[in-house]
């Protein structure tokens, strides 16, 4: 059989690389000024407090330095980024009303199909605005709210005002401040006390406009003893200019509630993905993160769980796959701030073709969190000798009576394992691919089926022709 080409991603990524004509209804000027923020705010019809919030965030943004750690962000020139692109499409609950080219993009990504088959609600954002949103009527009847952030701001202003950027305040870091100034789109979910949303909700974020930024805000509140599975997907076609994604996710998991937040991120390789995600978990609550990072040029993403209630739990399961031209600096943070809290972090990293992966994590145990338990396990697989893989966890404990463990391994594919599989009649290339799939299996099995399939496809795309 003829060997496939080494670099196949530009061909095989075609599904994600569909470029539509860039014909927005409104596009802000490039760069960041108070006038641009006022224009965005006017265009979005913000309440006065939100415009004030944006302007204050802009001020915070200009005062804060770039991070002194992590990958270089020198390529990011905010003066060239368009922070708001309003697509020529109105928000609708009917797919047939979505403009044909946008609809076709989402159809090819399988969004409409997934809704029919296995989702309780779908949101689809195109550039800066959500163009489609739907939720099953039986959930609405139970009081579940699933809508875009702009509608939430209009229709549930009190709730938004109470929670919006309270968990992730703009002063946290420069790109959160930027988000506070220019945020647009995203999802709002409210699950009332005791309601279990058994089928997942899914939001898909698509950035089509070259040189633009996407700054969606996701705010989820799962009330006492309620549960939810929320899925987030992201992609963009590849351009020669830098695009920026600085979203913000705030998750409130109340007493006895459970939230699973799954993400498959497959941004194009001109994307700076500087995203911030945080969950606040109350007594007996559970947050579960499932995270797949495949795309983007540079990623800095560290979902954070703050366990403030006794017996609260956090689980983080993540896979990161960096290839040529990618630096994916990802990981997880857990703050144990109450007694008997527990966390479990499990990650798998793969690097190839000069890709750089970094696991960066922190487990902090405050002096109130006696009997905290945490287990961190990071495994890294390097597929060649011109890639990099770094592991940088920090454990910070201010209590005794705790049980904190961290373990990490690094290495390449075991030659013995390949030899064994080949002795059973499997080709070398397939044997290696099997081993890589087995390596990410603990993550894949946590994903909903269609996402597990997508992840497997992404792994296959990355591996074809590169080994053996």
């Amino acid at each position: 059989m003829e060997k496939k080409k080494t670099f196949v991603e530009d061909i095989e990524r075609s599904l994600y690389d569909i470029k539509n004509e860039d014909r927005p209804l409104y596009r802000s000027d490039t760069g960041l000024t108070a006038q641009i923020i006022r224009d965005i705010s006017r265009e979005k019809n913000d309440p006065v407090w939100m415009q004030e919030f944006r302007l204050q965030s802009l001020e915070t943004y200009s005062q804060l330095p770039l991070p002194a750690w992590g990958p270089s962000l020198a390529e990011l020139d905010m003066d060239k980024i368009v922070t708001y692109v309003k697509p020529d499409a109105k928000l609708t609950g009917d797919w047939t009303e979505v403009p044909a080219d946008i609809k076709e993009t989402f159809d090819r990504l399988g969004i409409a199909e997934a809704e029919k088959d296995s989702l309780a609600g779908v949101g689809a954002q195109y550039d800066s605005e959500v163009v489609y949103h739907s939720i099953k009527q039986e959930l609405v009847a139970q009081g579940v709210i699933y809508t875009d952030m702009e509608s939430a701001l209009r229709e549930h202003e009190d709730i938004v005002k109470e929670y919006f950027m309270k968990l992730v305040p703009p002063k946290d870091h420069k790109f959160v401040a930027l988000h506070g100034a220019v945020w647009s789109g995203g999802s709002f979910v409210y699950v009332p006390e005791g309601v279990h949303v058994d089928i997942p909700l899914q939001s898909y974020f698509r950035l089509n406009s070259p040189g633009a930024g996407q700054f969606e805000h996701t705010l989820i509140i799962v009330e006492k003893n309620a549960s939810l599975h929320f899925i987030e997907g992201c992609s963009a076609p590849k351009y020669n200019v830098t695009n920026l994604h600085a979203g913000c996710v705030e998750l409130y998991v109340k007493e006895g509630a459970r939230l699973r937040y799954s993400t498959i991120e497959n941004w194009s390789r001109n994307m700076m993905n500087l995203n911030t995600k945080r969950a606040l978990v109350e007594k007996d609550g559970i947050i579960e993160w499932v995270s797949g990072s495949f795309g983007s040029h540079i990623s800095m993403l560290y979902p954070c769980s703050v366990l403030v209630g006794e017996n609260a739990k956090a689980e983080f399961t993540g896979v990161t796959f960096a290839s040529s031209g990618q630096t994916l600096d990802t990981g997880a943070i857990v703050v144990h701030a109450a007694p008997h809290t527990s966390s479990n972090i499990s990650t798998r990293s793969i690097s190839k073709d000069g890709g750089v992966v970094v696991y960066r994590g922190a487990v902090k145990v405050t002096n109130e969190a006696h009997h905290a338990k945490s287990s961190v396990n990071c495994e890294s697989l390097m597929l060649d000798d011109h890639s990099r893989s770094d592991t940088l966890p920090v454990i910070d404990v201010m209590a005794d009576e705790v049980d904190i463990g961290h373990e990490a391994k690094i290495g390449r594919i075991s030659e013995e394992a390949v030899f064994y599989l080949m002795s059973r009649g499997i080709s070398e290339e397939e044997a290696k691919a099997m081993i890589v799939r087995g390596f990410v299996e603990p993550i894949a099995k946590e994903l909903p089926l269609e996402y597990a399939v997508e992840m497997n496809n992404l792994v296959n795309i990355e591996l074809e022709g590169t080994m053996g």
Binding site: A68, D390, V394, V397, V402, A408, G411, R412
Partner: protein, 359 residues
Amino acid sequence: MMKIDNIELNPILLPTWRWLGVNEPQVSSAVPAAIHYDRDPRQQQDGCIRPLADMAPAAVSLAAKARGEEQDKSSARRPGQGYFIEIPAADKRTEPILLAYDCSKGQNVFDEQFILARRGCEAAVVLLYQGQGTSHQNKITVYAEKGAKLHLIKVQLLDDPAIHIGNMNVYAEDEAIVELSLAELGAGESITSLKMNLGGVGSKGNIEAIYFGDQQRKIDMNYVLRHEGRKSEGTLLVHGALLDQSEKIFRGTLDFVKGAKGAAGRELEEVILLSPEVRNRSVPLMLSGEDAVDGHHAVSVGKMNEEKLFYLMSRGLSRRDAEKMVIEASFAPLLARIPVEHIRERVEEYIRRRLDHVE
């Protein structure tokens, strides 16, 4: 690079979030300027121990290589005061070389050693620091030539509330074996930095360290095990106990450089916490630019193994006494490797005395 008076301390190789406070060495108080240690620390007359100033230029270059300094910088650098310990090629010594530093009350002193283990030699060197000095700064450089086998033991038992700042750089050539046993037990505040570069093919480096925090003691350690040579093997094994209001940061890095094919590195830190007021920060880094390596690190932080305690308590010990015994036991493997009996006993007695105040 952070410089404190005479000592340059290595930064963390990959910085992270500032709010964790681990990127730079943490020094809580101003360190007084030091004068050179002016007494003779040698415990035996041995021609292989000479003043640093007697070093030939070639040896100066090797010391610079061990410190990772640029050659042009090193050629301009004049060796300071201190001792040059040169173990001749193929010299297999059974008796350890001992240098004992006793810092007088109120003194701020600085000392330096360069240990050059020539081809195929075998030797052990013990450096002992004790006394009532206010501050102590120390710079140790080690260069092990091909096939040399060197065991360096550093025992630091300075009285409270001295500040101890130490920097050590080690380079191992092909098939050299360097073993470090580091008992950083004393001083109210201890800041130490170590870089061992396994530069040679098949070189081996084993670092074993213990620390013990009690009262308001502050301990800051940054150890780097760099694998540059093919088939180099390294281990970094650290045991510690924290009591009272003590604070400690340990950064342990396994750094696999591109080209270090077949290298294997292991790191383990075990910390026992015995007070709700301690602060323990553990930073186990593993960096790799090479795929054909085998790296593994693990950290365990927390209370003692209940089964061990239960067993000891079933033999009639109180819980506190059982805990003390477990701490002593975790230090025992390193202490057993101190080749000078009276120093080993001195350290055991020192630990026991420190544990005695624990109620």
